[in-house]
């Protein structure tokens, strides 16, 4: 297989047409006459986290609350390891993006006075099954936006720490795209598939986070020498057993409490932050009081039916489970379990180290949504706001001139890819190595099988084994473009695994149960009130610390 080269140029390249990417494209369009190119490895109609839909806006400033309340909530959930300046700029924009989505056609539940109906202190109720098609339609209506579907960006083009575009390959044809751009937004989403999932067999992709989000954005940043932050703050979701469907709708919608097999409500015992809820469930199981459930038995018939419909709008597998078994939530409590760990900056603080404009340490490269660090509890609306902030800030580069990369650089990228296409067909596949990687991470870097725990020694072992798998991966063979994409995705995950392990090793405390449970250091200590950041310097992954950006302060690069 020989790759044909196709050169493209644009003003603003958006890598990933998901939640943040689409919103950024729409904003850039409103603010300038510049050209926008969205490179999306699937198709923007249903790609990214919103594929199945979402049934609530989870980040919203409800009447009577202020942006600061939201910032305080997110900061407290992160036990202080988040950026005040990023949280403030995000929280201030949340409600604005909801109005915009409503004008595009999103259904939001309203009361008789025409006000949004709230669910708790930060949520409003919507019908978000079609949120992604709504965004995709809005993007399609703009002539200045070109969407390149089924094209996978795998590396940035950077010179003198200034972004100049990116390399991409087609999922369908042997084509290498060389895209020149004045500014680039990374909006690829976070990473799943680093750890062995709940169901490693046939249902291996029945996971919380999109299995197609491979951490490409993180890996490209790491390789290009961007500064990254807080990879040790992993995210583990507490979900309905097997279907991995959301539990928030049961907990907040019908007030279902977490109970153990003895029927005792255990959530107060451990605390109610996200990590404490997971940890409590792990502990109840370990101490012989599992399985654990959300207590739904006894809810009304009407609530039961409404729940079945609500899940069809975001996690239809759960409704299928209820209906095929006949055991709907009013008849049987819903069993819960923790997922495997993910790296996802929309929920925790992992990702690119950015300034308040969401610009990374590479000039002209922005990050929004799950790849942007320091700003947890973003959910959908927070990702929109970050896309909006980044798009507005990217305007300043419109006047720049960017020359296409040197031929030498293009040929190097081409021959690297072709080395996989021309390798000897081997007995080992990218799938095999992915499973090996997931098993290592599970056992030695705190996966489900290790009850999310790790030690200095186990992390050292994990690092060595991941290194070995990475060497084997260089010899993989791709017979067609899709297989080449799978190899690149495996390499992205391996790059990220190494950074995650390095960050877990660096934080010598247990700040968040389960998310980062270090058995050698089971306590939290104030000396770790700092950010753990990392950067590739002369090919070496270097970990360093930064002081916290506290209330009122603003970090600048």
């Amino acid at each position: 297989m020989e790759l044909k080269i196709k050169a493209l140029d644009t003003d603003f390249l958006i890598v990933g047409g998901g939640t943040a990417g689409c919103y950024a494209a729409l904003t850039f369009c409103e603010e300038s006459e510049g050209r926008i190119l969205i490179a999306e490895k699937a198709d923007i109609k249903r790609s990214g986290c919103l594929a199945a839909g979402v049934n609530a806006i989870n980040a919203y400033i409800v009447p009577g609350r202020k942006a600061r309340d939201y910032v305080n909530y997110a900061m407290s959930d992160a036990e202080g390891i988040a950026r005040d300046d990023l949280l403030v700029t995000m929280a201030e924009g949340l409600n604005r993006t909801v109005s915009k989505l409503e004008s595009l056609g999103l259904t939001i539940l309203k009361n008789e006075e025409g006000q949004y109906v709230t669910r708790g202190n930060r949520n409003i109720k919507i019908n978000g099954e079609n949120m992604k098609p709504i965004l995709a339609d809005a993007v399609a209506a703009q002539k200045k936006i070109t969407v390149l579907n089924r094209v996978n960006v795998f590396d940035y083009i950077v010179e003198d720490n200034r972004i100049r575009g990116a390399f991409a390959i087609s999922v369908d044809e042997p084509v290498l795209y060389v895209i020149s751009a004045k500014a680039v937004l990374c909006a690829t989403g976070g990473a799943s598939g680093l750890y062995q999932p709940n169901h490693p067999g046939f249902s291996q992709h029945k996971m919380w986070y999109p299995p197609f989000n491979t951490g490409a954005g993180y890996a490209m940043g790491i390789r290009a020498g961007a500064e990254m932050t807080t990879f040790e703050m992993r995210f583990i979701a507490l979900r309905c057993k097997d279907t991995i469907a959301p539990t928030g709708t049961l907990a907040q919608g019908v007030g279902a409490k977490q109970i153990n097999s003895l029927g005792e409500i255990y959530e107060q015992k451990y605390g109610i932050t996200t990590s404490q809820r997971v940890h409590g469930t792990v502990m109840e199981n370990l101490e012989g009081r599992g399985p654990c459930y959300l207590k739904t038995e006894g809810i009304t018939k009407e609530q039961d039916e409404d729940l079945q419909k609500a899940y069809l709008n975001m996690a239809p597998s759960q409704t299928l489970r209820w209906l095929e078994s006949g055991l709907t939530p009013s008849l049987q409590n819903v069993e819960i379990e923790g997922t495997e760990p993910y790296i996802v900056g929309g929920h925790t603080a992992s990702g690119y180290w950015v300034n308040t404009n969401r610009e990374t340490t590479i000039k002209g490269l922005f990050a929004a949504g799950d790849v942007a660090g320091g700003c947890p509890q973003k959910y959908v609306t927070g990702a929109f706001v970050e896309g909006e902030i980044a798009a507005k800030a990217a305007l300043k580069y419109l006047g720049d001139t960017i020359a296409p990369p040197d031929e030498e650089k293009v040929q190097a990228a081409k021959s690297r890819l072709e080395s996989f296409c021309n390798a000897c067909p081997s007995s080992v596949s990218a799938d095999d190595l992915e499973k090996a990687m997931q098993a290592v991470m599970d056992e030695y870097a705190g996966g489900i099988g290790a009850h999310y725990r790790y030690s200095e020694q186990s992390l050292k072992t994990a690092a060595e084994k991941i290194e070995g798998i990475e060497q084997q991966a260089q010899l993989l063979f791709a017979a067609e473009p899709q297989e080449l994409v799978y190899i690149l995705e495996l390499l992205e995950r391996l790059t990220l695994c190494k950074s995650v392990i390095a960050h877990l090793r660096a934080r010598k405390e247990t700040r968040w149960h389960s998310f980062a449970e270090h058995t050698d250091y089971p306590q939290t200590t104030p000396q770790w009130n700092l950010y753990i950041n990392s950067r590739l310097i002369n090919g070496e992954l270097t970990v360093f610390f930064r002081p916290l950006v506290k209330e009122g302060a603003i970090y600048e690069h």
Binding site: A52, L109, E129, R150, H199, G201, P211, P316, L320
Partner: protein
């Protein structure tokens, strides 16, 4: 967790190929999913199919009982049907203009 595409019902329009967020469906006259274990279960293709040729099921490894979930679109309404192995069917309707209550 995956999908099943009925060869008899599929008309080969390719709309499912387009919407799959994992680019897992191919068109060879009719739609097929060569690697069903890579499916996320998002149901995008199930909703997109104009002839209800695609249904989703829960794998046995996650406690699936053989039920199949398909959906028919009628303007803003989605009619979801679960067909159990014994042939019985249950249908639920969700209108995208009405918000969910939870």
């Amino acid at each position: 967790m995956s999908i099943e595409i009925s060869k008899n019902l599929c008309v080969g329009c390719g709309r499912c190929v387009r919407v799959c967020p994992g680019s897992l469906i191919r068109l060879d006259g009719k739609a097929l999913i060569p690697r069903p274990e890579r499916c996320w279960g998002c149901a995008s293709c199930v909703k997109e199919c104009p002839v209800q040729a695609i249904s989703m099921f829960l794998g046995e490894d996650m406690g699936g009982l053989g039920g199949k979930l398909a959906v028919r679109k009628e303007n803003t309404r989605l009619h979801w049907t679960v067909r159990k192995p014994d042939g019985t069917c249950l249908t639920l309707m969700v209108d995208s203009r009405s918000s969910n209550k939870y």
